[in-house]
């Protein structure tokens, strides 16, 4: 029996399963992403979840400025996500405007791999903003 999609403010939406990749974050973005799972934000209630494998995911949510060491693992994870897929840059570092931009071992965000489909800026972005941005963006996906 297929579920037709959950209701969020009256609009039908689809579930969004994401694999998280830390590509050099300070762990601030991780903490706020984790907070989305607490009872105040309850992202699963909106059909959003962080899943254990890229094979189960609709896309990647990436944090950090993409350190050189994490560049390959990031690409490998991206390649392992089945099509169609989406790339979300979470936080200024991943978005390419964070404080570590010019450090020698940083590649300046996810852009070097692929232009992200969604950029959630902030250092770190607040959980409420993350949810809001994802909700607005999902509407544009139709």
């Amino acid at each position: 029996m297929a579920l037709k999609g959950l209701k969020l403010v009256g609009k039908p939406i689809k579930a969004l399963q994401l694999r998280h990749v830390d590509a050099g974050s300070c762990n601030g973005c991780e903490q706020e992403l984790t907070a989305l799972g607490n009872g105040f934000y309850d992202m699963q209630h909106f059909g959003i979840d962080v899943v254990a494998s890229p094979r189960h995911a609709d896309g990647l949510v990436v944090t950090g400025p993409v350190t050189d060491t994490m560049k390959r693992p990031l690409v490998q994870d991206w390649d392992a996500v089945p099509e169609p897929k989406w790339l979300i840059a979470l936080g200024d570092c991943a978005a390419g405007c964070g404080v570590f931009q010019d450090a020698y071992a940083c590649h300046g965000g996810v852009d070097g791999m692929r232009t992200p489909d969604l950029v959630i800026s902030g250092c770190p972005p607040k959980p409420q903003d993350i949810l809001q941005k994802i909700a607005l963006w999902r509407k544009t996906l139709g």
């Binding site: 050099g24 350190t67 450090a103």
Partner: protein
């Protein structure tokens, strides 16, 4: 600061003597130009410095006598190309096969430029156990949850871990290199983001370094504010870790209720200090903008949720059983490897750098300590420390109620000198070694608590079931970020 110049024969003897006197290594710092400095925090609170000036690119390794500096020396080898002579295990720690030959990012005086990385996989050779029935299991660097990146190579027999080889520094950004040559006044946002979990401790170290170099003494009201924000961070971090440990055994109610407390605390901190994770709050010589009344109310509100939660987790026999005897850190190992913070205090050691910090002088503080060295002890120490921090904050708040306008001090633009500062972060002793000339950073070395505790984690998991690794790991809850930098 007591400084002595070494001859080759004294190097080991002097440093070992410091250790035997009960001192803690703040940092082993290399400088471009060939100097190695070891800073020790003496039990008296004084900082002692031992220097080795190289003639060439070799310096005598201390790892055999002082195993806690094994990683420091490997890092120096990777970053400067200086060779610790006699080091028993000089594998790459930070470097990996992608680094071009001859690229030593900290060997020069300026911020290194981005090199041409070699197009190969970043994996260093792993150290594994060989033998019949031994399986190798590789985990990471990306993980199945919301976790920082790290790569672990387990050697397993049956259910049991024989050995884990840590391949960290996946998140190495090059922060110390990035800081070189910058005006010291411009490094605040970077220092604040070395680690999202210990940010206040890092900010405070920088503030103290600038003030020390300029010879400025902050008024006591600003000292009190710093205690408040440091303790607020400790509680925030402990609440996070206390939520994660029950998650490691599937105790969802305890996990969710602790996450809710963390969220409430963060929301309060945002109103009181201006940031949910306390980034960019401490400044050299400047008062914090803190709402004393609101902080007092927040503590009372949190305690209302805390008490029943503490009874829940402590009264849950299943949960207690799962933590007991798991992931034991022996006291002798903690001592030998220079264990810090909760990891050391859960293994019968009592060191807490707040005892030596001038900032806390005169304030009564209950120091938590447990003896069994297992997950349960680390959980219990955190429980007690949260309550001790609240008690301290309440005392400080009491005294902070009335004060007039506080002076605002501006550091001089031509700041010069060297300072070694430290604080007790939620993850242990955190030290900064800072050298500045004409207002510009010459060297900025960060040595945080997790650096000394990672090797202890590897020791603690050996002999345990592989299924308990997540639980043991969460009970350490070491940041990768301030390790990798």
């Amino acid at each position: 600061m007591i400084a002595t110049l070494m001859t080759e024969n004294d190097w080991a003897a002097h440093n070992v003597r410091r250790k035997n006197l009960g001192a803690h290594v703040l940092g082993v710092t290399a400088f471009a130009g060939g100097r190695i400095s070891i800073h020790w925090l003496m039990p008296s609170g004084q900082i002692a410095e031992e220097n080795w000036d190289m003639d060439g690119v070799e310096f005598p390794s201390l790892t055999v006598e002082l195993p806690e500096v094994a990683w420091d020396e490997r890092e120096i080898h990777d970053m400067f190309g200086y060779r610790p002579k006699g080091h028993p295990d000089l594998r790459a720690l930070v470097r990996n096969p992608r680094w071009p030959d001859g690229f030593y990012p900290l060997a020069g005086p300026n911020a290194p430029s981005k090199p041409q990385w070699i197009e190969v996989a970043p994996n260093n050779p792993a150290q594994t156990v060989e033998g019949e029935g031994v399986t190798i299991m590789k985990v990471g660097p990306t993980h199945a949850g919301i976790i920082e990146s790290g790569h672990f190579v387990f050697s397993i027999i049956g259910e049991n871990i024989l050995h884990v080889d840590l391949h960290l520094f996946q998140n190495h950004r090059g922060v110390e290199g990035q800081l070189q040559g910058r005006p010291i006044g411009s490094v605040w946002p970077l220092i604040s983001r070395i680690c999202g979990a210990d940010t206040v401790s890092h900010q405070t170290n920088l503030a103290m370094a600038v003030e020390e170099m300029a010879g400025y003494q902050i008024p006591e009201e600003i000292q009190w504010q710093r205690i408040l924000v440091l303790e607020s961070e400790r509680i925030l971090s402990h609440l996070n870790d206390l939520a994660q440990i029950p998650a490691g055994v599937g105790f969802s109610v305890a996990n969710q209720r602790a996450l809710a407390m963390k969220e409430r605390w963060q929301r309060g901190l945002e109103v009181i200090f201006g940031h949910r994770l306390l980034f960019d709050t401490v400044q050299a010589g400047k008062p914090l903008d803190v709402d004393i009344e609101a902080l007092g109310t927040l503590i009372v509100e949190l305690q209302r949720e805390w008490r029943p939660w503490r009874s829940l987790v402590q009264g849950h026999h299943g949960f207690q059983d799962r933590m007991e005897g798991v992931g034991v850190v022996r006291q002798s190992d903690a001592l030998r490897l220079g264990g810090q913070g909760i990891v050391a205090r859960a293994s019968g050691l009592t060191f807490d750098a707040r005892q030596q910090m001038p900032l806390y002088e005169g304030w009564p503080l209950d120091y938590a300590s447990e003896t069994s060295g297992d997950v349960s002890s680390r959980f219990k120490v955190r429980l007690d420390e949260v309550e001790a921090s609240w008690r301290l904050m309440e005392r400080v708040l009491q005294r902070s109620r009335i004060h007039g306008a506080l002076p605002v001090w501006e550091p001089p633009s031509d700041l010069a000198g060297q300072a070694v500062t430290f604080s007790e972060s939620p993850h242990g002793l955190n030290a900064h070694i800072v050298a500045v000339d004409r207002g510009q950073v010459i060297r900025y070395h960060v040595r945080s608590g997790p650096f000394r505790n990672w090797p202890l984690l590897a020791k603690a998991v050996a002999g345990n079931a592989v299924g308990d690794f997540p639980l043991i790991n969460k009970s350490f809850e070491l940041c990768y970020s301030c390790l990798d930098r």
